[in-house]
């Protein structure tokens, strides 16, 4: 009894740490006078770092505790690391933009709650828990989007909320149908009951799974469920946008990975076709619309849509050929990690270019950055090259692993499309580099660089280069996360 209790506590420690520190900071921020709430920045980073250590030790110990609704395998801990990394970095960015905000304390509290939701999503072994965790994450994200209370932020928050609520309606109805067919919301019970399902109940499961796919398609902003993303990304405060592009998207993918593992074996749906079409549309449309964007946040929003498409290629490959499932899913996890680093780095520079309450969003405003701030210009160029997928950067390695899995599973056509898309994306990513290095400046504004922001930019830049040169160990970590996948 006590041993079991201790094991449970250890497995759930990351989630509990996040929730407890969030609740504690909630009370503290209520007591603190307004001008001191920014001090909560440090305890928040401390809580996130502590949670990261807990997750890392649990990953190393690697015991798959299965009790009740929670699963604690290495898949969960692997994705937890991606969430924590992206939340940590985006919190550092928020120091810059939200310092003078009256609700600075609440920002950090909501960040912690959103992280708790993501972590719980990765650890769900039950559709109901998955739904509730998704809501914990999403509700925090809705408030974060509009918490600056400007007209643009409020509009973005409302669009995000309305679309998110619509998506969760689909999700919930899908869960209801699956529950009706199998009598349970637990993944392992569903896989057992589903294997013997025939006729009507099998159809109920299929329709339910389709509704779930629609719901999570909204969350990862896959085409054709993407139309909310550009407005929300543009209107939200830049650190929140960075969080949405990295952490929230990775949380959507962990749910999709769980769905694929649980449902692909027995539903006999054309999974490969569905995911291939989704991946094709998401990559192509995301990249094509990104071509004509002039606002850098909108451009990064469409690029984020396109990158979700690349990751979907990995999911499709994992189903196409069961032999390489481990490698393909590991590539998805690795790609989420890589993409989070690159995109947060790019957003960090967007933050650096802006002033408080007055963001510089137009790509044309970046002209002349190379003369006044060569280091920052080089970092931005690095992130753009990495997002395109040119060696020797992390972005190239991420795509390489994904496409290697796709090729060895036999998805040749989709691989060609992905490569062509990378070529298309080079146009708009490299045009930013061109603006930075070759365009005449007009009314240059000095970027503000504080130590925290400098840390964020240099950390992501070094990680992108270092992991681009020596990715093998990290990929092994990702691969070990998916060993002996079961429910």
């Amino acid at each position: 009894m006590t041993i079991l209790f201790l094991a449970m506590a250890k497995a759930l420690a990351p989630f509990l740490a996040l929730v407890l520190s969030g609740l504690l900071l909630l009370i503290v921020t209520a007591f603190l006078p307004k001008e001191k709430t920014r001090l909560l920045f440090y305890p928040t980073l401390l809580a996130l770092a502590g949670t990261t250590i807990l997750v890392a030790t649990n990953w190393v110990d690697g015991f798959p505790l299965e009790g009740g609704m929670v699963i604690s395998d290495r898949i969960a801990y692997g994705f937890d690391l991606v969430f924590l990394l992206s939340v940590f970095l985006s919190t550092i960015l928020s120091r810059e933009t939200e310092e003078g905000n009256a609700h600075g304390g609440e920002y950090y509290v909501l960040t912690l709650f959103a992280t708790a939701g993501m972590v719980l999503m990765a650890h769900s072994r039950d559709l109901l828990l998955l739904f509730i965790a998704l809501e914990i994450m999403s509700l925090s994200a809705y408030i974060l989007t509009s918490y600056r209370q400007s007209a643009k932020g409020a509009e973005a928050g409302m669009k995000y909320f309305v679309m998110g609520a619509f998506a969760s309606g689909f999700l919930l109805y899908g869960i209801a149908l699956i529950y009706g067919a199998t009598g349970s919301t637990d993944f392992s019970v569903i896989t057992q009951a589903g294997a013997g399902a025939t006729g009507n109940s099998l159809w109920l499961i299929r329709i339910g799974v389709a509704l779930l796919l629609i719901g999570f398609g909204f969350k990862i902003a896959a085409v054709p469920f993407h139309f909310w993303a550009p407005d929300v990304y543009e209107g939200a405060p830049t650190p929140v946008t960075a969080l949405m592009a990295s952490g929230v998207k990775a949380a959507g993918f962990v749910a999709l990975v769980r769905l694929v593992i649980a449902f692909a074996p027995f539903t006999a749906l054309p999974w490969v076709k569905i995911l291939s079409v989704l991946a094709f549309l998401t990559m192509t449309i995301g990249n094509l619309i990104a071509l004509k964007q002039t606002n850098i946040k909108r451009m990064l929003a469409y690029s984020s849509i396109a990158h979700a498409g690349y990751a979907l290629v990995g999911l499709a490959a994992s189903i196409k050929n069961g032999q390489i499932q481990e490698e393909a899913l590991a590539a998805v996890l690795f790609y989420m990690f890589a993409y989070s680093l690159m995109t947060i780095g790019a957003f960090a520079i967007v933050v650096a270019m802006g002033r408080k309450g007055d963001e510089v969003d137009e790509i044309g405003d970046y002209a002349g950055l190379s003369e006044h701030h060569p280091a920052l210009a080089a970092a931005m160029a690095l992130f753009m090259i990495s997002l395109t997928g040119i060696p020797p950067t992390l972005g190239f390695i991420g795509k390489f692993y994904l496409l290697r899995a796709a090729v060895s599973s036999g998805l040749i056509g989709l691989t060609v499309v992905a490569v062509l898309n990378s070529v298309i994306s080079a146009f708009y990513y490299l045009s930013v580099v061109m603006v930075i290095y070759f365009q005449k400046e007009k009314g240059y504004r000095l970027p503000q660089l504080s130590y925290t922001l400098l840390f964020a930019v240099s950390f992501t830049a070094m990680a992108v280069i270092y992991l681009g040169l020596f990715p093998e160990e990290l990929f092994q970590v990702a691969k070990q996360s998916f060993q002996a996948v079961v429910f």
């Binding site: 909630l26 009370i27 209520a30 007591f31 006078p33 307004k34 709430t37 009256a102």
Partner: protein
């Protein structure tokens, strides 16, 4: 079974008929002398002032939002209350108690937050915000 529903049907028919027959009889025998004063809405003898379609104080909405959250708490309390005796008899009383206490505690944190922030007071003191 069907016969019992017949009873209900008769009752419904009687109730609906009672209303309309009375209104109809009233229509026949009452004098009809309309005036503007009779057309105004009656508010406890007070003269109505202005339209009912006005902006309410935003506090109404905030209190209502807070109410929704704590209202739903009850939805979880009742089921636990119903089975609690049975659980105690089975020796699992402490688990049930601990779970509902943790739940209430988390909500209590939220309540404490709005209380400290002064959002429960009807007239919020602007200068005192955040203390």
């Amino acid at each position: 079974m069907l016969f019992q529903f017949g009873n209900v049907l008769v009752f419904i028919a009687l109730a609906v008929g009672f209303v309309f027959i009375n209104l109809f009889i009233g229509q026949l025998i009452r004098p009809s002398v309309p005036s503007t004063m009779k057309g105004t809405s009656y508010e406890c003898g007070e003269e109505p002032v202005g339209s009912a379609w006005l902006n309410f104080n935003i506090r109404f909405y905030i209190i209502a939002l807070l109410f929704i959250i704590f209202d739903v708490e009850i939805a979880f309390m009742f089921p636990i209350g119903v089975v609690f005796k049975q659980w105690v008899a089975e020796g699992r009383g402490m688990i049930a108690l601990a779970e509902i206490l943790v739940f209430a505690l988390i909500l209590l944190f939220g309540l404490a937050y709005v209380w400290i922030k002064g959002d429960l007071e009807w007239v919020k003191k602007l200068g005192n915000q955040g203390k």
